[in-house]
């Protein structure tokens, strides 16, 4: 049977109704917009201008306020309380149900974050993530950008290395889980037939007893970081490559005539000229690493000493229902992200203004 016929079978009717629902939603939205435009378009006189402004600007403002401003403020407030699950009213004390009251507890959640051993390890691991991942990603990305900049026939390597950027973190985690399959040993302890690529390679290279890649700390954290690097390098390579291309050819040529070549050219001319782009790429990868949730959540869910800030936050909020504590982690994440995003956005804006 051809696979496409299979797609049509099965839960096709339910899937069909979902898709019909989408088309209806979008159609209703468009129709509503058209009607509003038509009605407001008829209005003339002194109400025309204010009405136009409201129609154009209000939806975006309302969505931003309702979706970001108000929730962010509420999360900050919650981070100073001992709130547990949403709607949880009772807890068991000495075998009896007593009412659980949410109250303000000042900075206790933050104190907990910085004293609890598990959370401290999470924070430290997050710091390793945001130092190592950007460093390695930008390093490899820059190397590739420089090498490809001096080559012909670069479409294929460029596309293949860039391809992972389009893959979801979950998909990438599954792809790499296959690479990291645990090594297989025979009864007598000698390596058996491997299913994981990494085990296969290291055993072929002579390491007879590799660890269980995903379960054994601390190596597992670094292996998970590799997945993030794998996804992000393409982005770094393409953006840095574009910046290198934007260096006027006369400058490169002139520097070369002056005797600069290879490493000197790279250090004295190219790097200074793409410095801003380098920083933007590094901060961007840092932000993504700081928010590394999908990969950790999929590969280990933070077990086996691999937890990071974004994942522990999710688990506190939605699994163990420590809403107050989870909110304090969200606020910490926010505080770390603010300067990076602010820098990037300002930089992006300045570049645009210069153009």
């Amino acid at each position: 049977m051809h696979p496409s016929t299979v797609i049509l079978a099965g839960t096709a009717s339910e899937a069909g109704s979902r898709l019909f629902g989408v088309i209806a939603t979008v159609a209703i939205f468009l129709a509503a917009l058209l009607v509003i435009f038509a009605v407001v378009g008829k209005v003339t006189g002194r109400f025309e201008r204010p009405l136009t402004i409201v129609v154009l600007v209000a939806p975006a403002v309302i969505l931003s306020v309702a979706g970001l401003v108000v929730p962010a403020i509420r999360t900050i407030v919650t981070s100073f309380t001992n709130e547990q699950a949403a709607g949880q009213k009772f807890k068991i004390v000495d075998g009896k149900l007593v009412e659980y009251k949410t109250k303000f507890i000042g900075l206790d959640n933050y104190r907990f974050d910085f004293t609890d051993s598990y959370t401290l390890h999470t924070l430290l691991r997050t710091v390793i993530w945001i130092v190592l991942v950007p460093l390695v990603t930008v390093g490899i990305g820059l190397l590739l950008a420089l090498l490809l900049d001096r080559m012909t026939h670069t479409t294929l390597p460029r596309t293949l290395i860039f391809l992972p950027t389009a893959i979801s973190f979950v998909g990438a985690s599954l792809i790499w889980a296959l690479v990291y399959n645990a090594p297989v040993y025979n009864q007598d302890g000698t390596p058996g037939t491997q299913t994981g690529l990494l085990s296969k390679i290291v055993i072929a290279l002579g390491w007879q007893h590799p660890p269980n890649w995903i379960l054994d700390a601390p190596g597992n954290s670094y292996l998970i970081m590799i997945v993030m690097v794998w996804i992000q390098v393409g982005f770094a390579m393409v953006v840095l490559g574009a910046a290198l291309k934007a260096i006027p050819e006369e400058i490169i040529e002139a520097a070369r005539i002056d005797g600069a070549s290879g490493a000197t050219l790279f250090r004295a001319v190219q790097i200074p000229m793409i410095r801003n782009t380098l920083i933007v790429v590094a901060t961007t990868v840092t932000i993504t690493s700081l928010k590394a949730f999908d990969i950790v959540n999929t590969m280990t869910n933070g077990n086996y000493s691999t937890d990071v800030l974004a994942n522990q936050m999710y688990n506190e909020l939605f699994v163990t229902n420590q809403t107050g504590r989870g909110s304090s982690l969200a606020v910490l994440l926010f505080l770390c992200v603010v300067p990076l995003v602010a820098y990037n956005v300002v930089q992006l804006r300045r570049e645009r203004a210069a153009r």
Binding site: V6, G10, A15, L160, A166, S173, I251, M273, L317
Partner: protein
């Protein structure tokens, strides 16, 4: 030594160089390329491609082979390829509904923000009013708020509406447990970036064009619909691709609002669930995963140019 002096002095210093333009570029390229450089690029390309290739090949191997040997054994028996795994995930373990869910989330979460944001962008850029630059700056500044900050309050809102002192101020519109929870959330989160990007583009449209339309008696709404919107296609395209991939690939929002109800999971949440419960069905993970990344890969390969632009501009989102 500054760049300008280098380029100014160069011709005097070395008059023998006659190459200019593309010829010079090529000469420079040749002089710098090196076998070692090519080798590094080839090695890195292989390292970057092999995991994906292995995953892809594994999706065509049957249960017995996947459990007992690595994907590289496929090369020894390419004839044993089977579409059976795809058949299983498309029927029994239901990737059809998650794929439909992903589309049902992604399409409104892409189309609606584009229209609302371009309206706001036009309003803020061309219908100047008191406070318009403040509003633009405020929305633009909201990019620093990570969506992690908004998850719990939004979830409460979807559960029970907005309450002030026990009185429901805004009802929850029965969004609880529907896909709308997910795409409404994405729509809200997309606003700062969308308004910022589209404002940059729309504000740079030629003044004469907009004014000509206004002088001809077209209202602002009409000018927006018939002139500004069509002219903004490039900006809309790059934002659309970025937003489409972002929403399609998202796990955090999907997991938070889709919950554990399998019939409301998009592909990302679905394959993640499978990776937990497929211990006994390793062979189904690859085909399910591959179906989930297929659409982004096609979008990527077909629209790479717009993708780069959107990626760069949207790189601070989150």
């Amino acid at each position: 030594m500054t760049a300008s002096t280098v380029s100014a002095e160069a011709p005097e210093n070395d008059a023998r160089i006659v190459l200019t333009g593309p010829a010079a570029t090529r000469a420079v390229r040749r002089a710098f390329s090196h076998p070692l450089a090519s080798l590094i690029v080839v090695v890195l390309t292989v390292v970057w491609t092999v995991p994906l290739l292995g995953f892809f090949l594994n999706s065509f191997r049957d249960k017995g082979s996947v459990g007992s040997s690595g994907w590289w054994n496929w090369f020894a028996h390419p004839g044993s390829s089977t579409l059976g795994n795809y058949r299983t995930v498309l029927n029994g373990d239901g990737m059809v509904l998650p794929l439909a869910n992903s589309l049902a989330i992604t399409i409104p979460a892409t189309v609606i923000p584009i229209l609302l944001a371009s309206m706001a962008a036009y309003g803020l850029a061309w219908v100047r009013f008191r406070g318009s630059s403040f509003i633009f700056f405020a929305i633009f500044a909201l990019q620093v708020v990570p969506l992690q900050m908004a998850l719990v309050p939004l979830q409460k809102y979807f559960n029970s509406g907005v309450r002030l002192g026990g009185v429901t101020v805004i009802p929850s519109f029965g969004l609880k447990g529907s896909l709308a929870e997910i795409w409404v959330t994405h729509t809200m989160f997309s606003m700062p970036l969308a308004v910022f990007l589209l404002h940059n583009f729309i504000a740079a449209l030629p003044r004469e064009l907009i004014e000509a339309a206004r002088v001809d008696g077209a209202s602002h709404l009409r000018t927006f619909r018939s002139i500004v919107l069509p002219l903004s296609t490039p900006a809309i395209a790059s934002f659309a691709i970025f937003q489409f991939l972002w929403v399609w690939n998202d796990l955090l929002v999907a997991k938070t609002f889709g919950g554990s109800d399998a019939s409301h999971q998009p592909v990302t949440a679905r394959i993640q669930n499978l990776s937990g419960s497929f211990g006994a069905h390793q062979e189904l993970l690859a085909p399910a995963g591959f179906l989930a990344i297929l659409i982004p890969l096609v979008v990527f390969l077909a629209l790479q140019r717009f993708f780069v632009r959107g990626l760069l501009a949207g790189s601070v989102k989150g």
